[in-house]
Amino acid sequence: MPAVTPALVAIVMAAGVLAGSLGALLGIGGGVFLVPFLNAVLGIDFKVAAAISLVTVIATSSAVSAGTAGRNLINLRLGMVLEVASAAGGVAAATTVAYVSDLALERGFAVVAALTAILMLSQLERRNVILDTSLDPGVLGGGFYDEESGANVIYRVKRLPAALAVSFVAGNVSAAFGIGGGILKVPALNAWCGVPIRAAAATSSLMIGVTAVASVPIQYAHGFVPPPLAAAAVLGVLLGSRAGLWFGGRARAKWLKLLMAVVLATVSIVYLRRSL
């Protein structure tokens, strides 16, 4: 664990800018990049790296959701239902993760990233767009204007129990790995539950804030959140997420999915090699 110096603070802030812009672009928070950088490159303990990253996830969630609010992309009802499960998952993992070894956490991180990359690649062409505007979206469904197809999109939510289960696991993953959990929820909501990817990403971005808050106070109490590093990472991620959000509205969904899959595969390989 390196000493907290002004130079380290500056490096962490710069890493936050990059992670924040990529994270907002992909709708998964910046943690999936920040944790490996803080841990594997800077030598910060995995649990501390994860906790710092999770603090930035809260900032990303609030900043990105403030930007998307008003476009009907965020499904507030579905988000609240799933937060019951993801917050429970966060509390459960936060109370146990202090007793898990860093090696086990690194292996788990590699597996989660790899599975998600595979899921993304298998769903590249699925669009979940129903161009019948007379469809009743039901209690949990929604509708929004899709810039890519130039039409109003209405969708119903299928397989809610699957979405709840994935949200609980995403809460575990969020607290253990500091990565928000969007990398699980966005593909699952898109592939299994019929939620269009932009709505899934916007809803997930809102959810990861509450999910992170369900575990960060416990990690802070364990001493895993050094305030100067957390502050630097948060400020960097906030700057970066503004840039990423700007690009996100202009990127095509297929490219977004491909990019996500490549990034996740790379992170997985790095961590598998480290833990072997």
Binding site: M80, V91, A94, T95, P217, A231, V234
Partner: protein, 102 residues
């Protein structure tokens, strides 16, 4: 159209304003704390500012759930008002566990 699919545009706009306020306040406190930490190492206000910034950051999503609860009560949407209470109870549990470890 079922009662549950009433538009939530008003709530979404409220939440957008709340979230941006939370981000601005917490970023200002964290920037001030970090600036002081760099300019005057060991200053007593540093840790206060940094912790206040972190608390404002964590408080923002919690406030978001509170505001959602108020809106669901206003809409008499008791199912979703109840769900927000469950989420608030989970967050309260985390804070209790954290405080008991200090």
């Amino acid at each position: 159209m079922s009662a549950g699919s009433q538009p939530l545009g008003r709530l979404e706009r409220h939440l957008g304003r709340l979230l941006i306020a939370g981000v601005v306040v917490s970023a200002a406190l964290l920037a001030a704390g970090l600036g002081l930490w760099l300019a005057a190492p060991g200053h007593s206000a540093t840790i206060w500012l940094l912790n206040a910034g972190l608390i404002a950051l964590m408080g923002t999503p919690i406030m978001r759930v509170f505001v959602s609860f108020a809106e669901y009560v206003r809409l008499r949407d008791w199912l979703f008002a109840g769900l927000t209470v469950v989420v608030l109870a989970e967050l309260a549990l985390t804070v209790v566990v954290a405080l008991s470890r200090r």
